[in-house]
Amino acid sequence: MRNLQRRDRVKIYGDLLSILNAEANSDKIVLTKVQVQINVPFDRLKSYISELKELGLIENEYSLKLTEKGKQFLREYEKVLDFMKRMGLIYGKQKKIHENDPTGLCP
């Protein structure tokens, strides 16, 4: 049996924002590429994006840019994950969700 860790909604939001932030310099964000990186079904990815828009963390579904609030959330998310990693609360080797994630914390 594969050892898959369950991700809660906050972690998925964090991962998604992290990917969108890494792709911020791209002309266009391809959702299927994001879907592969974040490893969720496409319909759920769409619903997460809608939820993030409702929360005011991202704007414009087609270019998908992080708002100031989204950047602030992502900064705090990274700090807490870094702290949890240092505290030994994140168990096992974490898979890097994309190349630009030097923390290697995204599950």
């Binding site: 700090k79 702290f83 240092r86 030994g88 096992g92």
Partner: protein
């Protein structure tokens, strides 16, 4: 003079513990997962324990020392529970340990109620029970030390090595206090002062790690290009 030094270390340790509560609460605030509450609750209990010991230095009372011992044991059990429930979810033997942890917490709570309940029981603790509580605390610290070391070994990085070292200092402190209690002298001996200093150093490591995580500038920041 020794009392002043002891008092100073106890007060500083209590301040460090209460400062750590703020940082330890952040994982829970972000994830809303109950298992992460053990750390802030544990450090709050540890801070209360240190505060009691500080008062005990000024006004020696065996009741304060007993209450301090109990709250400290609670603190380490809560912290160990967080590490236990954060471990690999694929492990099978979880239920037995979950029951064990639950029983330990219930037993400690019962003991606390009995100690403060009434004049017929009073604030008295059997010496062997006192040693048992200290050993339980030492066991919890050892468990956390092993867990954090294992976590470090799975993804070795210098930044993840400091917390096991912090727990080692807390373990040395607890061991020193066991030696001091077994001595039955209850004087301010080397073991007692050494235990206080080791605990202070351990807490200092924790606060440094928290500071580095939350306030130190990182290589990679949101909306900035990662360094090559």
């Amino acid at each position: 003079m020794t009392e002043v030094v002891d008092f100073g270390i106890e007060v500083a340790s209590a301040v460090l513990c209460f400062a750590l509560v703020k940082f330890m609460f952040k994982p829970y605030a972000l994830t809303k997962e109950g298992r992460y509450l053990g750390l802030p609750v544990g450090f709050a209990f540890l801070g209360i324990s240190e505060a009691m010991l500080a008062i005990g230095v000024l006004q020696p009372a065996s009741e304060l020392r007993l209450l301090s011992l109990l709250t400290r044991t609670f603190a380490y059990v809560f912290m160990a529970a967080t590490y236990y429930f954060s471990r690999d979810p694929a492990k099978k033997s979880r239920l037995i340990w979950s029951i064990t942890f639950g029983l330990i917490i219930v037993a400690l709570a019962t003991l606390a109620v009995l100690m403060v309940r009434g004049p017929q029981v009073g604030l008295y603790l059997n010496p062997s029970l006192s040693v048992f509580l200290r050993l339980l605390a030492l066991f919890c610290i050892s468990y956390m030390c092993v867990r954090t070391l294992r976590s470090h070994m799975q993804a070795p990085e210098p930044s993840t090595l400091w917390i096991p070292i912090g727990f080692i200092f807390l373990g040395i402190s607890q061991y020193s206090l066991i030696i001091w209690a077994a001595d039955a002298n209850y004087s301010q001996g080397y073991a007692f002062v050494g235990g206080l200093v080791a605990r202070f150093v351990g807490l200092g490591i924790f606060i440094t790690v928290a500071y580095l995580s939350f306030y130190k500038t990182k290589k990679w920041r949101v909306n900035e290009k990662p360094s090559a």
